[in-house]
Symmetry: C2
Subunit: 335 residues, 2 copies
């Protein structure tokens, strides 16, 4: 394994978020699944958007939020994802580069528009997401090959489960995992979403068993993956299948297992829970940077908890303060 240029390279859906406040009645009336991500087509996107309250637009995308978090902690990160050559694509590209993430995937010239995620945030800080995937779904082997050198030069290659919703993207993932393996790099995967796991269980199981070193999920997702209602059963299954499994449990913190080791991580206290958008993405940021730098499981988990706590204390899915400072205040040393 040669010296790495990046701590983490992530492959994911390049999405611009539209965040609007909403009521539970609105979700019910419009048939929006609460606290989940639903894929929608352009027609439904246009309809739903017309019904939503005024919003704020900001770059999002699960794995892109994660690399934003890594950069904010002082890590070196790269990203592969597809935007269109349009205004939202410009915004996404600007934002990810402005925080120092290496991003060079060529924008789509003809085809669907840049992806948009309509996020309805209810008073209980839950976000219900309706995603029009557009150009984002068109991450293929070609996009991965375009940045093959970066893949080889990254400590960890991180894949976003959401991309499994497109066959071409799945092939791109497998290609990234192969490149990573050939360069002796670690691969990480987030299961992303309960319904995403339900839609693609067999494919996920195959990928996890054959290509993944670090598995990240929440309780519901990992239980769905291993078709069990028992959390401990799911954890033990994962322990036998991947090098490291990290499972988040909202206010109960997270559990991380590696071989015989089991580490429980507490959630960091927050003054006010405003919007849970990005909580899992930012947990992954801290965890992956910690692992890339050789921190202990407990330290890496704590870094994740600190990053997650910051992002849920305000609207929006990307950090608003320098996470590096928060990690330093917790007296965790990133080597």
């Amino acid at each position: 394994m040669s010296a790495s240029q990046f701590d983490v390279l992530a492959v994911g859906n390049a999405i611009v978020d539209v965040l609007s406040p909403a009521t539970d009645e609105f979700l019910e009336q419009e048939g929006i699944a609460k606290a989940a991500m639903t894929l929608i087509d352009e027609e439904r996107a246009t309809y739903l958007y017309s019904k939503m309250q005024p919003g704020k637009e900001a770059s999002g995308g699960s794995a892109a939020n994660t690399v934003a978090g890594i950069a904010s902690m002082g890590g070196k990160a790269a990203y592969i994802g597809k935007v269109a050559a349009d205004q939202l694509g410009e915004i996404f590209t600007h934002d990810i580069r402005a925080i120092g993430v290496s991003f060079d995937t060529p924008p789509l010239q003809d085809g669907p528009a840049t992806a948009r995620c309509l996020i309805n945030v209810t008073d209980d800080a839950q976000r219900s997401m309706s995603t029009f995937l557009g150009a984002a779904a068109l991450v293929t082997e070609e996009e991965v090959e375009h940045d093959a050198e970066k893949v080889r030069a990254s400590e960890i290659i991180y894949l976003e489960g959401y991309l499994f919703d497109r066959e071409e993207a799945k092939r791109g993932y497998v290609r990234a995992a192969e490149l990573a393996a050939a360069a002796n790099r670690l691969t990480a995967l987030t299961l992303s979403d309960l319904f995403c796991v339900e839609r693609h269980r067999a494919a996920f199981r195959h990928l996890v068993a054959n290509h993944i070193d670090i598995l990240i999920a929440n309780e519901a997702e990992i239980c769905a993956l291993y078709e069990t209602e028992d959390f401990d059963t799911a954890i033990e299954h994962a322990r036998g299948e991947v090098g490291i499994a990290a499972v988040t449990r909202s206010e109960k913190g997270a559990v991380i297992v590696r071989g015989d080791e089991t580490v429980a991580v507490s959630a960091e206290p927050v003054d006010e829970l405003v919007d849970t958008t990005g909580a899992g993405d930012l947990f992954a940021a801290g965890l992956l940077l910690g692992l890339a730098r050789g921190n202990s499981l407990a330290e890496a988990g704590r870094m994740g908890a600190i990053a997650a706590a910051e992002v849920i204390s305000h609207y929006g899915a990307r950090p608003e303060v320098e996470l590096k400072r928060l990690v330093e205040q917790a007296e965790i040393e990133i080597s």
Copy 2:
């Protein structure tokens, strides 16, 4: 004067804001005039945007923020402004309609993109704006004629000084003022910006003297308009020239004069001053709705102060809570 369908119809620059944090050093380095609005061309917009930190996009535009405030107070408002048929134009249109403002100006099909205002917010809550006007500048007599019925059906026609930066737009303003006068409606104008007044003093003086009933400005702007350094001199000049003049003085509140009357309005206290973007726009919202509904000068001014206080307590130029409730809490009755 027939019964009015709208309290206020506003004509202004239809702009999407990009808000990013910035340092004073950054402003100096990039030659951005602090706490002012500078017009930039597309090339400079692209350059500056590439240098800015990650941002959040939200609909803006001075007079559009004002009608958003009026709608939030329960008033009926309409808007005339030009966006392009692009993604930022869609966002602007969505947001203004979603709050119940009547907006039907046809989007520009061929030509420049929807206007973008790059707002660098420094730690002292000051905003320094660089505006690429794009399609927004193309409000002409045609756009005003398109909504002539709404102009005639509005209690107050409100014009944004910024639009004076384009000759065609100026003619549109004069047309709106003529339509208003013919229907016995009141006209209001905000001077918008110190440098805007300096650029167009003669034209502003002519418009104010001949077409405007209600003049809104801050201290610096009204002094620049009447070429005096003395605030009282400027106020007396305005008193003799317009029906009502309202001058905002930041934390000192506002002074409103009408004939012999002079009313001083205190600024509302805020817990934390976060971002002054929209302060003047929201003061205008409260003032104009109060005047349209026949509230006293003191009440209308207080409504403006309440609306301004809400908007400077968070990032962004549009209200985030229902202003109607805040006005009710202050025991002001809007008839």
